[in-house]
Symmetry: C2
Subunit: 175 residues, 2 copies
């Protein structure tokens, strides 16, 4: 219950959205899902999020229809974005773009998203998650992401971070 309470009386779609994705960690979990992270342990390794909190957030997202829990092997679960969840892409991208443009210092590991399946040759996404080459809003599955300048800081060295450092297509499971 993040904002819950008296927000029933607010005629506001934003409040509804924040009740689902507005809690601490939630949007970072979803970002990783867009990047192809699917497993509980991988999310934990990459985010340093307490188990109990990750467990609760995943349950809430599944309950809200944003993620789907698949038991692809006994004892090995996968959390995958639903069609509803994929609709969060413009929001996730827009927030990340804001951080990239206004808050990331030099050496801060900027990330780009490129429309790989673009009929016009493709280009890095611009404001609103729009491809400047073809003018459309590409589905996350047709995007490639890569990291630009190497970070000045000592980077994380867990396996998930290493995977995410290499160029790859969104939504495809990590190797």
């Amino acid at each position: 219950m993040p904002l819950g309470q008296n927000y029933d009386r607010q005629d506001c779609a934003l409040a509804r959205a924040l009740e689902v994705v507005g809690e601490r960690w939630t949007l970072l979990v979803l970002r990783d899902c867009f990047f192809g992270v699917r497993r509980f342990a991988d999310l934990r390794a990459h985010l340093d999020i307490p188990r109990a909190v990750l467990s609760e957030r995943l349950a809430m997202l599944v309950d809200a229809g944003v993620l789907e829990r698949r038991n692809y092997a006994p004892g090995r679960d996968e959390y995958v974005l639903t069609d509803t969840g994929l609709d969060l892409w413009p929001a996730v991208f827009s927030l990340a773009r804001f951080g990239d443009r206004h808050l990331v210092g030099p050496g801060g590991g900027r990330r780009r998203f490129r429309h790989a399946d673009c009929p016009a040759g493709g280009a890095d996404l611009a404001a609103g998650a729009v491809c400047p080459a073809c003018g459309t809003l590409p589905a996350p599955s047709s995007l490639e992401t890569r990291l630009l300048d190497g970070t000045g800081q000592t980077p994380r060295d867990d396996a998930v971070s290493l995977s995410l450092r290499r160029p790859h297509r969104l939504l495809t499971p990590l190797p």
Copy 2:
């Protein structure tokens, strides 16, 4: 300190953004700023947010360069979006659109945004805050908003809510 902590070691612009706008209430405050709300008392009346929290959030947003505090009369302050703050529009719109499409029930007061200054005649914004008529991403100042179907619930009756219920242009101060 919302997500602060060990996020320095994350090469992630989204984490940076969430450190500024990821705390409870912050995005709702900014939504109201886009709608033209500028005064401390108006934000309080509309959001039912505790004074101490609003005070702290405004200070943080001013500190982050998202809002500017103007003392337009002694004892009457105004908080206005900076150019940096205006860059949050695609994120705010995208989250609100997600809530509108997937979480708002019937009678839930849907809100539309129309490109009033559109050379192609204008239309309601589509995904990514893009105007479908001219294909651009309009600045918030060239947008008009209005509420569709009346809400089924008992609506709020404070002065700010009444103002926001009438069609108006974004960023223009409330009457």
